[in-house]
């Protein structure tokens, strides 16, 4: 605990609560002093403070002690009055304003850092706070209710030049100039007087003065008179002592020479005078007075008797009405005397006495309800407690009491409350209770006018800062409150200062409203002061205020733009937050060897293209390098950065987002680039290395930003100067909350290294923002130190610009966005070569060969769709170019086609929408340059289209074996028109492959009676399918071509003579091939399946134009349905031959019927077949049970061991259908029959051979019988040949139930 006397409050009290000496002087005295530039009081002031006087004093109880330090306060009599309120206010304001002027210098500097603030202690507080506080307290001096400002002594001064000096002395005290305190009777007018004669040595010798002195002595007494000679210095001959006065003279002008006429002798004389005055006159006088008063007080108030008496007496006065200031007390009243006793004791540092008298007094005042005096005494008590360093609690209680009492009495006590509060604060501060002190400051602030409140709040904020632990948030808040008050009282500089300090607290936190408020106001105030650049800087912080209301956003933006305008130049900002750039969406599209037809193509994932182009680029020797092989040198260099070509634009997609709800306009958006021509490349790399070696090591964040901005602006200026590349500029405006993607381009014109550094845009035509793409990564690198990621990202924006090479551009013409499934049409691929150099070796790959296939050059000139129609010339088929090639590989090469420079190239493509849905088509076109000297040997042209395919016809086929003929099948076709509005005309159905022959069920009948298949309509048609395979076909390999030849059935209304389409024609056949690949597993060895192609057309005279108004083109729909199983996988076919109806006379005998079973082996191996007949056992014999028929094939499957599930399912379905048919027809079967002859027959069958097995049944009664109760077991004989992989999926043995065969036996007449 510090000694209270050495604390700030202690010092202040020792300074402020000291005896007051009233000075009365004649004008001539003043005149003499003014020669030195000083008033009389000023001249004496430096000598009123005694730090080492050592005066012995005795307390009332005769305890001796010594005073070492002492101070007198000198005032002219005219000044001893309550200061004028307005003047005092003015004065205080001036103090504050002056402080603000002083601070102006660092207003434009950086705001204080938090660490610096924390390092501050109470000593480093700005001095003017103390001055302000002192001045504030001084406004209360010479109050009536306190005695410590009452003059203790009176110094009467007369100049030796005055006429009749003795009379003057008398006059001085008798005039009405005496302060009201004395005149009103608040003070005892009999005060200690001291007479002083001033002699100006410049006016001649002091002889006259000494004469006057002796006269004075005789008149006023020996000890009370003195002579003081001044101005004895000769001009400039002696050393200057003016510095003694400077601290006391506040309004000094430096030119004035203070104390120029005073020499050392004068000074020592003044010193002696003052010392004598205090030690020989004032202190003894006070001591004396204390004694007298104490005796009086003891006599009247102390002791039990007096207390009772006093209480009684006071009680009597109780009914007097409350005067606002309580009763009036004159100097002679005992209360005033006690007060004087207390204050004198305090001034002589006899705190015990002071305390006891104050205590005594406070009860009196309280009873008297003289609240102001009561509060004053309480205040005094608190101070004495403090100086005694006894009870902290008591001191605070007293202060609190005084404070609230002052407040209670209303406006008159307000300022007193403030003073009391300030003392209280100092008291708390001395005990380091800063938090409480801040609370008191806050209480003071609520009572004071805004300017004072502001100062108080600011002091409160510092208290929070100094408290332990520092309460920074409170600090910030109170600073803001203070700033607000400063602003209200028109002290903008102070407001700025406080807000700026508060910023250090709020920096980097996410309390958005706070930040906005502080930044906005600081900015606004700076703008008031005309410091626009700082204002704008602060305004910048709040632009992206999406959380604020629309009105506030508008206000912020408006103010910001206004300020920028006032700055008078375009303002350049680094990374303006309006609009926000979404870095993650940044996309660069550039074309090295990869070129794109459209942006859509460029947006496709690179891996997708790569997988598509895999074997296309494969053929190129240069690009493909094994990872094991050392990389070629040239490619290594290119690998670091991307490659682009002179004259070809690099596009950059940047996503801008407007965070505000108000529209903003953006203009002049363009990239900032740097292009080092080839000759300077090496140099640029060097500098780059340097930059990487020292990646902004010690630079702070802000400096870094400034650095970046400088770099960007300088680059931009360079940009506009040079013509080595061209930049695009974009202007757009954004609505509130909108997100816009902007494409910016840069086109290099010179070879070298191009770096995209950043982007620049203008907001509302006044603010230019620079945004660098790289620094993010640089920062990241500093933090994480991850080398790899940063390197790759920063390199991404660096391009090696190479010499211009040809580039193909083009598109697919007439490609619709929406088409119906099955729609087949011819498209044209158009390629343009703008350059002078021709390209060659073109190859193309298509991602969906099912949808698009390249045609042949002849297709270009023929008419569609007639080119697909069947030609009478059958030979034409054989020379189909696409068929003769291998259509399996999707890589298509344009033979020897080359595109000359400046020409356009066309190539037909066939499009067929295979399945409904959304399809993304990717086409990759590879080409090589004619002149191999260029750095790029080849390029790839990528085309991408999205296609929406709508449902059109749903096609399903059902095939069941014809019951009457071997190798003939019935085909049911179900067609549903699934389109929403289109009517379709069915044109033809073709079966594919030469071994199948499709024909109408009835040769001369129209199959499809309908002209049109309307939307939503369904149709079923029946056909006959015949297997016309010849055994000879197996001898050679089947050529693909012959497989495709098929048979057609015209579906249109009878008599239509339209030409049939050739399904084995080029396009359709190729599509069919891909369709087969898609729908089935393999196309070989599948003898048991059949493919159909249904061709339909849109009616030509459609009134409504369908999709995209392309009805003028004849449209062709082809639907392919492949791999329709012909009911059985078994290689064995058999057919029961025999009579269907037998007439027999059963009265004679039972009936024997001979039947033949024709068995055909359709496989390539020999088969052993066993046929077992089952004799009838009750219901089983009828085989009319649906379930039995359905289950049988399943069990046969299981018997076979393993089987292909999907195939099995097919079988089940078909046999299910068969079973259903039996069920219907076998209702009239009545009686059993018996198989005659052996129950099992075994036959060996050579490949592709047929045999006939005789059978016989015995029937005992007339009726209709189903002869299906036999099973066929078959087994492939492998003859020692091991199973090949393909065979494994095949069944090697099986069991099939018999086919139904109905025979009707009638009783012959």
């Amino acid at each position: 605990m510090v000694d209270p006397a050495s604390s700030f409050l202690g010092k202040m009290l020792l300074e402020e609560i000291t005896p007051v000496v009233m000075v009365l002087r004649t004008p001539l005295v003043e005149e003499a002093c003014l020669k030195n530039g000083l008033t009389f009081v000023q001249m004496l002031q430096p000598f009123c403070v005694f730090n080492n006087i050592d005066v012995p004093v005795r307390t009332v109880s005769d305890q001796p002690y010594r005073l070492h330090k002492f101070k007198l306060r000198l005032f002219y009599a005219s000044d001893i009055k309550q200061p004028n309120v307005e003047a005092a206010e003015e004065h205080l304001k001036e103090v504050v304003t002056r402080a603000a002027e002083k601070d102006l210098s660092d207003l434009s500097s950086d705001p204080p850092q938090l660490d610096d603030l924390l390092a501050m202690n109470s000593e480093s507080l700005p001095l003017w706070f103390k001055i302000f506080n002192k001045e504030l307290i001084r406004t209360l001096s010479f109050s009536e209710h306190e005695a410590f400002d009452h003059p203790v002594a009176c110094l009467l001064v007369v100049s030796s030049k005055d006429e009749l000096p003795i009379n003057k002395f008398v006059d001085l005290f008798n005039t009405n100039q005496l302060p009201s305190l004395l005149n009103d009777g608040v003070m005892d007018p009999k005060i200690l007087k001291h007479y002083l004669l001033i002699h100006d040595n410049q006016d001649g010798s002091s002889e006259k003065a000494t004469n006057v002195l002796t006269e004075m002595r005789s008149t006023f007494g020996m000890n009370d008179c003195r002579l003081l000679c001044i101005n004895s210095a000769k001009d400039g001959s002696e050393e200057r002592i003016g510095s003694l006065w400077t601290p006391y003279k506040t309004d000094t002008s430096p030119s004035q020479d203070l104390g120029c006429l005073l020499n050392v002798n004068d000074v020592s004389e003044i010193k002696d005078l003052m010392q004598d005055l205090s030690s020989k006159h004032i202190i003894p006088h006070m001591e004396q007075k204390i004694r007298v008063l104490n005796q009086q007080v003891s006599a009247t108030r102390k002791g039990f008797r007096n207390q009772i008496k006093n209480l009684w007496w006071r009680k009597g006065k109780e009914d007097t009405p409350d005067a606002p200031n309580g009763p009036m007390y004159t100097f002679s009243s005992i209360e005033s005397q006690i007060r004087v006793l207390g204050d004198y004791a305090f001034m002589l540092r006899d705190y015990e006495l002071a305390l006891s008298s104050c205590r005594l007094l406070s009860t009196d005042y309280k009873i008297d309800k003289s609240w102001k005096r009561y509060a004053g005494v309480q205040e005094m008590m608190a101070l004495t407690y403090f100086m005694l360093d006894q009870s902290r609690k008591e001191a605070e209680n007293c202060m609190e009491n005084a404070f609230s009492t002052y407040l209670k009495i209303g406006s008159t006590g307000q300022r007193n409350a403030t003073r009391c509060g300030l003392w209280w604060v100092e008291m708390l501060k001395a005990k380091e209770q800063y938090k409480e002190a801040a609370g008191v400051y806050f209480r003071i602030s609520s009572e004071e006018p805004s300017l004072h409140a502001a100062v108080m709040l600011e002091q409160a904020s510092f208290c929070y800062l100094f408290s332990n632990p520092p309460m920074l948030r409170k600090y910030g808040f109170h600073l803001v409150l203070a700033g607000n008050r400063y602003y209200m009282s028109d002290q903008k500089k102070h407001s700025i200062r406080t807000y700026r300090s508060a910023l250090s607290v709020y920096k980097g936190n996410s309390w958005s409203f706070i930040k906005d408020h502080v930044h906005f106001h600081v900015g606004k105030w700076y703008a008031f002061l005309g410091i626009f650049d700082v204002a704008v800087k602060h305004m910048l912080e709040i632009l992206a205020c999406s959380h604020q209301s629309v009105m506030t956003q508008e206000l912020f933006l408006k103010d910001f733009l206004q300020n920028v305008e006032k700055m008078g130049k375009t303002y350049e900002v680094f990374r303006l937050q309006l609009p926000i750039i979404n870095m993650s969406s940044l996309k660069v599209v550039f074309e090295d060897y990869r070129t794109y037809a459209s942006t859509a193509a460029a947006n496709v994932r690179e891996s997708l293209w790569q997988s598509l182009e895999e074997d296309m680029v494969h053929s190129l020797p240069m690009s493909r390098s094994n990872w094991l092989e050392p990389e070629a040198k040239s490619s290594k260099k290119d690998k670091d950065s991307n490659v682009c070509v002179v004259g070809e634009a690099i596009k950059m997609d940047i996503e801008f987002k407007n965070p505000l709800q108000i529209p903003i306009s953006i203009s002049g958006v363009s990239l900032i680039c740097q292009l080092f021509p080839r000759s300077e490349v090496a140099e640029c790399e060097l500098t780059e290395k340097d930059a990487h070696a020292h990646p902004y090591e010690s630079a702070s964040g802000e400096k870094n930003d400034a650095e970046e901005l400088r770099k960007l602006t300088s680059n931009w200026e360079l940009n506009s100067g040079v013509s080595s590349f061209a930049l695009s500029e974009v202007v757009f405006s954004m609505r509130g909350g909108e997100t816009t993607v902007v494409q910016l381009t840069v086109t290099p014109k010179v070879e070298g290294v191009l770096k995209i550094i950043g982007v620049r845009w203008k907001l509302s035509d006044s603010v230019v923002s620079y945004y660098n793409f790289d620094s993010d990564h640089v920062k990241k690198k500093n933090i994480k130190g991850r080398k790899k990621s940063s390197q790759s990202s920063s390199k991404n924006l660096k391009f090696v610009v190479i010499k211009s090479v040809p580039k193909l551009e083009g598109c697919i013409r007439h490609l619709p966005g929406k088409i119906y499934a099955g729609d087949t049409r011819r498209l044209v691929l158009e390629l343009k070569n703008q350059s002078d150099i021709s390209v060659k070796n073109m190859k193309m790959k298509i991602s969906h060969p099912r949808f698009v296939i390249p045609g042949s050059l002849e297709d270009l000139n023929v008419e569609f769709p007639s080119c697909l129609e069947k030609n009478s010339n059958s030979e034409h088929n054989d020379v189909q170019p696409s068929s003769s090639k291998q259509p399996k590989s999707s890589l298509f090469s344009f033979e020897d086609a080359a595109i000359q420079g400046g020409t356009t190239f066309f190539w037909p493509l066939w499009l067929r929408a295979a399945v409904p849905g959304r399809i993304s088509l990717y086409l990759s076109l590879y080409y090589e340059m004619e002149n191999l000297s260029s750095e790029m040997k080849y390029r790839i042209f990528r085309i991408h289209y999205d296609l929406e395919v709508l449902q059109s016809l749903d096609l399903s086929f059902q095939i069941s074996p014809c019951p009457s003929k071997l190798q003939e099948f019935l085909v049911r076709m179900d067609v549903v028109n699934r389109t929403s509005s289109e009517n379709l005309q069915l044109h033809q159905l073709s079966s594919v492959g030469h071994q199948w022959e499709i024909s109408p069920l009835q040769p001369n009948e129209a199959i499809c009676p309908l002209q049109l298949l309307k939307a939503g309509q369904a149709l079923s048609c029946f056909f006959k399918l015949k297997n016309c395979r010849k055994s000879s076909m197996f001898e050679g390999s089947i050529s693909f071509h012959s497989l495709l030849q098929g048979h057609d059935v015209r579906l249109g209304p009878q008599g239509s003579d339209k030409a049939l389409f050739d399904v084995s024609g080029s396009a359709l056949a190729d599509f069919h091939h891909h369709e087969r690949l898609q729908q089935g597993k393999s196309i070989q060895g599948q003898q048991g399946t059949v493919d159909f192609i249904l061709i339909s057309q849109l009616p030509k005279n459609r009134a409504d134009h369908g999709l995209e108004g392309q009805s003028d083109l004849p449209q062709l729909f082809s639907h392919h349905s492949c791999h329709h199983s012909i009911a059985s996988t078994s290689p064995v076919w058999w057919l029961m031959n025999g009579p269907r109806t037998v007439h027999h006379n059963f009265t004679v005998s039972f009936c024997e019927i001979r039947l033949g079973m024709a068995i055909h082996n359709s496989s390539k191996e020999a088969i052993s077949i066993r046929m077992s007949t089952l004799d009838v056992t009750s219901s089983d014999g009828q085989l009319s049970d649906v379930a039995a028929a359905a289950q049988d094939p399943i069990s046969s499957e299981n018997q076979g061991g393993w089987h292909n599930v999907s195939l099995g399912n097919d079988i089940k379905v078909t046999s299910d259908a068969l079973g259903t048919q039996f069920g219907k027809s076998s209702s009239d079967v009545m009686a059993p029959f018996v198989w005659a002859a052996s129950s099992s027959t075994r036959v060996e069958l050579e490949p592709m051979s047929t045999t006939e097995v005789p059978l016989k049944i015995c029937v005992f009664a007339p009726g209709t019988y189903n002869l299906s109760n036999y099973t066929m077991h078959w087994e492939v004989k492998l003859l020692g040949v091991p199973l090949s992989a393909g065979d494994r999926t095949r069944q090697l043995s099986g069991r099939s139930p018999g086919h139904p065969y109905y025979i009707t036996v009638l009783q012959s007449p």
Partner: protein
Amino acid sequence: MASTACFIIVSRNDNPIYEAEVGSAVKKEEAAHQHQFILHAALDIVQDIAWNTNAMFLKAVDRFNDLVVSVYVTAGHTRFMLLHDSRNDDGIKSFFQEVHELYIKILFNPLYLPGSRIMSSQFDTKVRALARKYL
């Protein structure tokens, strides 16, 4: 219901993660930052008090003019702060407790990163309903 009430959730690293003006008074433009200021400053007091007590509900910790700040500190040192002008300790306590439950549910969400802003609109409606019920 209090005429002025501002509820805010402050994460352990002193960032506001949820803010709601739940008073019945018409929302004033300048009130938003004033409330933030008061609540932000009150964090200092909370810091002092929170470690001296076992209770989660710290009652009224700070005041500014006629506005009182009541605080509830969860075990994870997330602070629920309510700025209000009515004195209704019991109601405020129940309000805090129920909001705590809601907050815990938010924390259960595996997609919610503790300390990030609470964007759930359901949370918001529930908190407002609680405010209507208790304050």
